[in-house]
């Protein structure tokens, strides 16, 4: 037993050593690229196989496809490897398979495929030219055995058999939010073994809901353009346009596994009868009309279809601060998902919390139906018979093309006072500020008894100006009248006494002004002014009034000796200077005037 084990180990070691030696001595790998056909249609696909062959195949990395402008890689790469040991030498094969889709028609080129070699360098394939024509060319059969949909049996050969995908809308125009159903059907003359979407469908401008279809549909015989097909519904979608205008429904690309029945037993035996074909549904367009502005209720929140409204409280008797549940339920046919909350009325005597929203959507007969429920919790804030006002819900009925408004019946709730709590003034009632429910302009001014014209302001009226001017004028007149009256009523002697000082000062002022230039007449003027003043004050004639008489008269009138002396000295100075006027200097003249003024001021205070 151990001898046999030893022999096996020796053989394995020998094989490993040989393979290592072979690998070291391997030739450079060769790479090639080939396509399954050189002529295809725009709706067909192409299989690109990159093959790495040679003893050094393991040293070559995965191929890198350059960016292709004319083709898109639908699948791949799928990798397969083979290792052969022939005549003591190993050979490796590796293939990378891609499925390509042409993006346009014409003579297109698959660019070279570059493969990196470990240890440095790279190898590349030659570019391949492919002719792409419009539509499709006859399919080449590939072996993809699947179970699936069965085509008409009278189709004996797959070489000319057809498979088509068609899409259909149940209406050509719709309103925003109205359900439109798009149905995708396969028309086939072959057995369908499998079907899948190549790309995820997208419907820009639509809200999409998937409609269920039978997973094992039964085919229906159909004749199209004189040829017999079996029709299968493979996909159904409910579309709800979200905007107005012409909306495009893009083509969908399907991958279909098909199997034809061949009369050629050799073909059936060696090549099988299954293959994958790709088909596109035709693009569709839908005219979407906007919802009319006219007649749109304020409560409209986007519901389109046919609906009903139910509003129900869990009870109609409660205490203050005792929660009531109010259920608002909208149900019917249409897309309820985007529908907003119905306008909840302002209820100053209830506190309403945000509702709990529940949505139940179902598909019935290919139409979207369901219900949306808003559960509110209401807290009564004041006792008494309270009313939950009518709740309004509106929707657009696409059949009549008009808005419909649903209103619930107002619900009366009898609220009792709650338990007396700390901080409350009335049993269970928490005092609160009055809330403003909404704002609006203030109402009209009622008709007055008489509309007063205010085209002119009071200040612009003549009466106002007169009211200002007349009293002022009257006062002026009064002032004049008083002055005249006083003038007339006063005794001549009294008037003379009153004016004596003013006249004396004026005379002294003139004398002083004249004395600045010449002394001629100055002393006589000063003397005259003083004598006239005393005469006026004593109501006597100034003519012949001597200094002594003046002094005596002033003393008799109660004037003090000092003031009398001042008057006398002024008069004597004047008399002396009259005989020698040139001797008096200007400064002496000014001093004399000052003394005379002081004498007048002093006498004015006494007399």
């Amino acid at each position: 037993m151990s001898g046999r084990l030893h022999q096996l180990s020796l053989a394995a070691l020998t094989a490993v050593a040989l393979s290592v030696c072979a690998a070291l001595a391997a030739d450079a790998p060769t790479v090639s690229a080939e396509v399954d056909r050189k002529r295809i249609g725009t709706e067909d696909t192409l299989v690109l196989t990159v093959r790495i062959e040679g003893d050094g195949a393991k040293r070559v990395g995965a191929p890198t496809l350059a960016d292709m402008d004319d083709f898109r890689v639908l699948r791949g790469p799928s990798v397969s490897s083979q290792f052969q040991w022939v005549n003591g030498r190993s050979r490796s094969f590796r293939t990378f398979t891609y499925v390509l889709q042409p993006l346009r028609q014409g003579a297109l080129e698959i660019p070279e495929v570059i493969l990196k070699v470990f240890g440095g360098g790279s190898v590349q394939t030659a570019p391949i030219e492919v002719e792409v024509v419009e539509g499709t060319v006859a399919e080449r059969r590939r072996r993809t055995p699947r179970q699936g949909l069965t085509g008409p049996r009278q189709q004996s050969s797959s070489s000319n058999a057809k498979v088509n995908i068609e899409a259909e809308l149940d209406r050509k125009s719709a309103f925003v939010g109205q359900q439109v159903t798009v149905v995708y059907r396969v028309y086939t003359q072959l057995d369908i073994t499998g079907l899948e979407l190549v790309n995820a469908p997208s419907y820009p401008g639509f809200w999409v809901e998937e409609l269920k279809i039978d997973p094992n549909p039964l085919g229906r015989r159909a004749v199209r353009e004189g040829e017999s097909y079996i029709e299968y519904t493979v996909l159904k979608k409910a579309l709800f346009p979200t905007r107005a205008g012409r909306l495009e429904i893009p083509a969908l690309r399907f991958s279909l596994g098909v199997r034809g029945t061949s009369r050629d037993p050799f073909e059936s035996l060696f090549f099988g009868s299954g293959q994958t074909v790709y088909r596109k549904s035709p693009p569709l367009a839908l005219e979407v009309q906007p919802l009319p502005e006219e007649g749109r209720p304020a409560s409209f929140s986007g519901a389109v279809g046919h609906y009903r409204l139910n509003v129900s409280p869990d009870r109609q008797e409660a205490r203050v601060n005792d929660a009531i549940s109010l259920r608002v339920r909208v149900h019917g046919e249409g897309n309820l998902r985007p529908v907003g909350e119905p306008a909840f009325p302002q209820m100053p005597d209830f506190k309403a919390y945000d509702p709990k929203v529940d949505e139940k959507i179902r598909i019935e007969g290919g139409r979207l139906k369901g219900s949306k429920t808003w559960d509110y919790v209401l807290l009564p804030l004041a006792p008494g018979s309270q009313e939950i006002p009518s709740i309004e819900f509106s929707y657009f009925d696409p059949d009549s093309a008009r808005y419909q408004v649903l209103r619930s019946t107002p619900i009366r709730v009898q609220v009792e006072r709650g338990e007396l709590q700390v901080g409350t003034t009335v049993a269970g009632v928490q005092p609160r500020e009055v809330r403003e429910l909404r704002t609006d302009i203030r109402h009209l001014r009622p008709t007055p008894e008489q509309l007063m014209d205010r085209s002119r302001m009071l200040r612009q009226r003549a009466g106002f100006v007169a009211a200002l001017a007349v009293p002022a004028t009257a006062n002026l007149v009064l002032m004049l009248a008083v002055w005249r009256r006083e003038t007339r009523q006063a005794a001549p002697g009294e008037l003379r006494r009153r004016r004596a000082a003013r006249w004396a000062r004026r005379a002294l002022h003139h004398a002083a002004a004249a004395a600045k230039h010449s002394s001629a007449g100055f002393f006589e003027a000063v003397s005259k002014a003083l004598r006239q003043y005393v005469a006026d004050k004593l109501d006597r004639s100034a003519a012949g009034l001597t200094i002594r008489e003046i002094e005596n008269a002033l003393s008799s009138a109660g004037v003090g000796a000092m003031d009398c002396g001042l008057v006398r000295s002024c008069l004597e100075a004047c008399d002396r200077a009259q005989f020698a006027p040139s001797a008096a200097r200007p400064a002496a003249r000014a001093e004399l005037v000052q003394q005379a003024r002081s004498a007048v001021d002093n006498l004015e205070a006494r007399l």
Binding site: I441, R442, Q450, D453, M457, R459, L468, P471, L478, V482
Partner: protein, 252 residues
């Protein structure tokens, strides 16, 4: 107001004084009924017909403002509320509706104002349409009486009392008269206007060819500075200055 309108108005008032309500009041009542019945356009026609007589009554402008507001014309509403406010500066309803209408506008007026402007506005709202003139009269006439007493009364005690009263009243008369003069000066120089077009572009000159400086919207109050042909130069509340087509604004 031309002489024909004066005659018509005088006749209406004369006939109105004989009965409890004249034709103007009946028309006003009819306009109010139309408004209450939801016929805002009909109400507007009636209010405008009253204004055609030349009657300047704040009630008419106020109700007209409401009628056009209900028709979704905030520019016209603000214009009429502003006119009502000039005739009744202290009317709370007019002030409220004017402020409410301004809140609906696209353009907001500058909120910050000088305290002197606020004080002046407060004074006008306090005294109303003619309150300051009446106030002046109520102080001025006693002042003149005191002056008269000071001049004419012989009794020395009464004269001294009159002199004291004159001095005190003159301290009041001078500011009251000054405020009246200031108000007259401000109101005569106020050239406010309201933008009537939904949207209008302010340009740097009185021509379509001048570049656009700003865009303003219906209802904004502007001050007209100059006029040149079919264009007016306006000053916006935020200090911007530009030219607008005359037809796009209406003077208050």
């Amino acid at each position: 107001m031309n002489w024909r309108a004066r005659v018509v108005l005088a006749l209406i008032f004369v006939s109105g004084s004989a009965a409890s309500a004249g034709p103007v009041e009946e028309r006003f009542e009819a306009a109010n009924r139309a408004y209450e019945g939801g016929d805002f356009a009909g109400a507007e026609r009636e209010y405008r017909a009253i204004l055609e007589y030349g009657l300047q009554a704040p009630e008419v402008y106020y109700n007209l403002g409401n009628a056009v507001f209900r028709q979704g014309r905030p520019g016209q509403a603000i214009l009429n509320y502003e006119r009502a406010l000039r005739l009744a500066p202290a009317d709370e309803d007019v002030l409220f509706n004017l402020e409410y209408s301004r809140e609906q506008l696209v353009d907001r007026e500058a909120a910050a104002r000088h305290w002197i402007a606020d004080a002046y506005t407060g004074w006008i709202r306090l005294v109303g349409f003619d309150g300051d003139a009446w106030l002046l009269l109520w102080i001025y006439l006693p002042t003149m009486a005191a002056v008269g007493a000071w001049i004419g009364v012989r009794d020395e005690r009464l004269r001294r009392l009159a002199r004291f009263a004159t001095i005190v009243l003159l301290v009041l008369v001078v500011p009251a008269g000054g405020l009246l003069v200031v108000r007259g000066s401000i109101e005569s120089s106020d050239r406010g206007a309201i933008v009537m077009d939904e949207k209008v572009q302010g340009r740097s000159g009185p021509d379509e060819g001048h570049p656009t400086l700003f865009t303003i919207h219906e209802g904004l109050k502007v001050q007209v500075r100059k006029e040149s042909g079919e264009w007016v130069q306006v000053l916006l509340p935020n200090g911007l200055n530009g030219w607008l087509p005359s037809s796009s604004v209406e003077r208050i």
